[in-house]
Every structure is written in structure tokens, then in C-alpha cells.
Subunit: 299 residues, 2 copies
């Protein structure tokens, strides 16, 4: 089954101990797609400004992504500037320029309204809600957010939670939204709010998944040289949702495999700046690393 991802297409400026990259292609929808495209056809719903380099459009098309609903609007593309220090576990946001994102209102085609797999990456919950209402027959809806919205649009987020299958959050977000310190309790509280499944991303510590009758934990794939973690969470979500969309069913075995694919996809993402590593990914790369990952757990 094909998939729609609502999110950002951005120009990122990133500094890590390994260097500096200016205005590189990034954004949640892009990172998500780099992994999801390996499993299913992906429609990007996003907005960029007129300054958005045409080569990025060509690149995304060449990767097989459907850009029918990528609006090119008058104004500037969303820009994010951040820095990672020390153990590269958390980004320091230096600057954010919303540009055209501040007036974003998704427009999708009639055909796209029938897509059954939907990932609402981190944008204003009102925009997430707006898109979700357009979808005719969602089969699987994933939702991501961030502390900014958790703090400013809590009510809207809680309303959305009731309509999503999988809420994806990092550990801090899950704690803040649930009010629970312990992550398992936190995941359960968020399930109590309506999300059928909750997936907590813990960065270098892997993920915790909490569903109806099962809780799974997976470590991160051990990467020796972390160059730039930007987009790791979205890449994870892309691999995870992409695999579920391709499978077309949800059960413990499928969920575990999806978690593992997400984990492995994210491990590639952090090995290079921006898309340096994931732009070249082919399914075989994923599967090779998947086998190494699996081997960790043969005991």
C-alpha cells in the first residue's frame, strides 16, 4: 500500500564535531521518505519557497517520490540551523526560519485522498488535523510532534491522538505529554489518551514500543561513527511505517520487524550529514545490516 507523509522539506545548516554543512536538503518529510521509499511508494505533502533549489526537486523525483502535493510558494523555504556537541545526542537549535511554512495549508489530489497509510510528521497539529480530515479511508495513521506543540497545542494534540494508530515520540516528548517520568508508564498513559500504539524513540538507546497486548524494546544498531543525527527519528519512522504499509497488516511479528527496519534505517542516517548516506540506500543495504542486527539477538 502506498503512503502519504505530511511534514517539512527544509534547508538545514548543521554543525557537528565532524564539520559544517550549509543549506543542505532536510526536513521531516524528506528524511522519512528516504527510508519509506525502500518499502512503498511515497507521496510528500509539504511546502517549499521559490528559493528551493531545483536540483533538490529533481533528486526527490529521481528517488521515486511523488511530489504532486509539494507546494512551491512565494517566499522562503523553511530553514533550520542546529549544532550537536559532545555525544551528539541532542541538537541545540540555533535558528529557525519558518518562511512559507507559516502559511502552509496542504492541498492533495483526489487520488491521494484515498491513500491508506498516513504519516503526520511534526508540523502544527492543526495542519495535521486538516490533512487527516481529508483522507477518505485511513488504514494506518502515524503521528509525530515536538515539545513546542506539546506545550502550545496540547488540547489539539490530545484530540488528534484519538484518531491515530501510532503515536511516535522521543523520550522527552513522551514524558512531557503524558506527565509520567517512567517511559513504560508514559507509553501506557498515551495509549490511554487514545493512541492505539505508542513508540518511544530513545536515540542512542533504541526504541520502546507499547501496543495492546505487547511491549517491545530494541536497542539502537551500534554505530561506531555518528556524524550527524539530524533526521534519525524521521528516518526511523520512515522505515517503520514503510514496512507496515508494505505488509498491510499489524501483528506482533510484523511490528517487531518494522521496528528493526526502522532501527537499521536510522543507523545509516546518522553515519553522514543530511542525506549523504541515506540517499544511496538500496534495499540490499538495509537487509545486510538487518542480518547483522538480528545476529545480536540470536541467543
Amino acid at each position: 500500500m502506498s503512503m502519504i507523509v505530511l511534514g517539512t522539506v527544509a534547508l538545514d545548516t548543521v554543525r557537528t564535531p565532524f564539520g559544517l554543512r550549509k543549506d543542505i536538503l532536510g526536513g521531516s518529510a524528506v528524511h522519512f521518505s528516504m527510508a519509506a521509499r525502500l518499502f512503498t511508494s511515497v507521496n510528500i505533502v509539504a511546502i517549499v519557497g521559490e528559493d528551493f533549489p531545483g536540483r533538490h526537486i529533481s533528486f526527490l523525483k529521481a528517488k521515486g517520490l511523488n511530489l504532486d502535493s509539494l507546494i512551491v510558494d512565494r517566499g522562503k523555504t523553511f530553514r533550520w540551523e542546529g549544532e550537536y556537541k559532545g555525544d551528539l545526542n541532542s541538537a541545540l537549535t540555533l535558528n529557525t526560519q519558518l518562511g512559507v511554512l507559516s502559511a502552509f495549508r496542504p492541498v492533495i489530489s483526489r487520488q491521494q485522498k484515498g491513500v491508506k497509510n498516513i504519516f503526520l510528521a511534526n508540523v502544527d497539529p492543526d495542519i495535521q488535523d486538516y490533512l487527516l480530515r481529508k483522507m477518505r479511508s485511513p488504514w494506518l495513521v502515524g503521528l509525530d510532534s515536538m515539545n513546542y506543540w506539546i506545550n502550545t497545542k496540547r488540547k489539539e494534540l490530545f484530540k488528534l491522538l484519538k484518531r491515530v494508530d501510532i503515536y511516535v515520540a522521543n523520550d522527552q516528548e513522551a514524558r512531557v505529554l503524558s506527565g509520567e517520568n517512567d517511559l513504560i508508564k508514559s507509553a501506557k498513559a498515551l495509549r490511554g489518551r487514545g493512541a492505539k500504539m505508542v513508540l518511544i524513540k530513545k536515540g542512542e538507546h533504541g526504541v520502546l514500543f507499547c501496543g495492546d497486548r505487547f511491549i517491545f524494546a530494541l536497542p539502537a544498531f551500534p554505530v561506531e561513527k555518528v556524524v550527524d543525527p539530524t533526521g534519525a527519528g524521521d528516518t526511523f519512522a520512515g522505515g517503520f511505517m514503510g514496512y507496515l504499509a508494505r505488509s498491510g497488516r499489524i501483528n506482533p511479528a510484523v511490528v517487531k520487524k518494522a521496528l528493526a527496519y526502522g532501527t537499521v534505517a536510522a543507523s545509516f542516517n546518522i553515519e553522514g550529514f543530511g542525506l549523504e548516506r541515506t540517499r544511496k540506500l538500496v534495499p540490499r543495504d538495509l537487509n545486510t545490516r538487518m542480518n547483522r542486527f538480528k545476529d545480536c539477538f540470536i541467543f
Copy 2:
């Protein structure tokens, strides 16, 4: 193969959100033994004071532990008092009374000198060194320490590292001793210092193992109600070293299984205060949970 553990036998006073326990049996050697005993026969090398309750001696004996080298000295038993708040991930030490531990000098029997598996739990590195020198033919030596010794006896610890097979540390200790922030780099740096294998315990985030040609990561076993984490690291080490001692060989498959047993053993420990949960453990409990843990990774 049987095993020797050098460490503390203590009286702990612990407060967690779930309650308060005063002067309960604890200490690194005790927690270690509760798990290791399920795999092999264990000799405890430690010291207690005259105030140490006889019922604890009877209990440890009833668990099959060899107490020939548990010195009962004039003075007070080592006492630790701590509190856990919030997510229970780190203890706040409220009080430490060394008592007889301050003059501890291990004495072991001729027979014990021939034991091939040795775990040097967290005590003064000089005492660890002293015991290790007495051992005739070590096959597997594990070493644990803590920030206090890392800061005050760094040189001695580095000397010891050259003679150990497995250095076991929590994430903070590994960072402080290695000077590396990233945990994989940290583990590699400590291997560079001589430890053949490095095992980093990350509490609720599981463990990272770094050997000659392999790196493994395992998540913690997801426990829904963490009551008291005291001794979880030692219980982990007990399950891990115990399984290795019983296997009598070191290879990736054995190491992975040992890591999983350690993980599962620790998950029981945190479900109750002190030994409430682990004192009743039988191999079947471990194996039942081991199967559930394994199931997380069948994908």
C-alpha cells in the same frame, strides 16, 4: 566451573516512591550471588561486623553460597543509605558507613585460590588487586568499580584493567574513566587500556558489550513496575558471569546468551526491594522470562 565474588555484604536502607526498607540485606557480593548461584557454585569473599544478623548468614548458606571467606570482624557492618526519586534511574546516596569494610583484607582458603572464575565487585582497587594476586589460575576475571575509585585510584584501576577479561561499568563510569563521551568509543578506549571485553550497563536502556571482533547491544527487559533498582547492576553481572562460568568458554554466542541472562536476572531484581524478588528465583523463572525476552527479537 565455580566462582569467587569479592565485594560487599551490606545492610541497606532504601527509600523509593514505593516505600522504605531499613537495614535490609544487600551489597554487591550478595546481589551478584543471587543471580550467579543459579548457574554455578559461588564463594563470597567479604566482611561483615558483629552486628550482622545471624539470620542473614543462615539465609545465604541456605542459598548454597560458600561463606568460608566471609569474615565476621569486630565492628559494624558496612551500611548504605540511599533514595530514588522520579524515574528511579539514579540513587541519591544519603549516607555511607564503611564500618569493618575500612580495614578489609580478604582471606581465602587454599582451595578457593584455585577457583577459575573471579568477579571483583566494587571495592577499593587495592583490595581487588590483593585478591587477584592470590588466585592461582584465573580463567575469567571480571572487574567492577565506581566513580569514587575512578577519581581517587585511577592509576591502580588502569593497572588492574590490564589483568581483567571483562570490565563492567555503568555509562557514567565508563565515560569518566575513558574520557570519551560516546559509549562505543568509551568501550573501545577501555579495551585499549587492557580490558579484553568491556560491558557498559545503561540501566533502563540495557547494555552495550564490546569485545575483540564484536559489539552487541541489548535493551533492558521491559519491567512495568520498578520498585527498587538497588543491586540491579550486580545482579546483571551475576547472571552474566554465572552463565559464562558455567559455559566454560567465551565466544559470541555464549556472550550474547550471558548478556541476556544478566538482563533477565536484573529485571527480577528491580521488581522488589533488596532481595525480595531474587531470593526466590529458580532457574525456571529465569528461563520463562528469557523466552519472553527472546521473543522480542524474533523478527
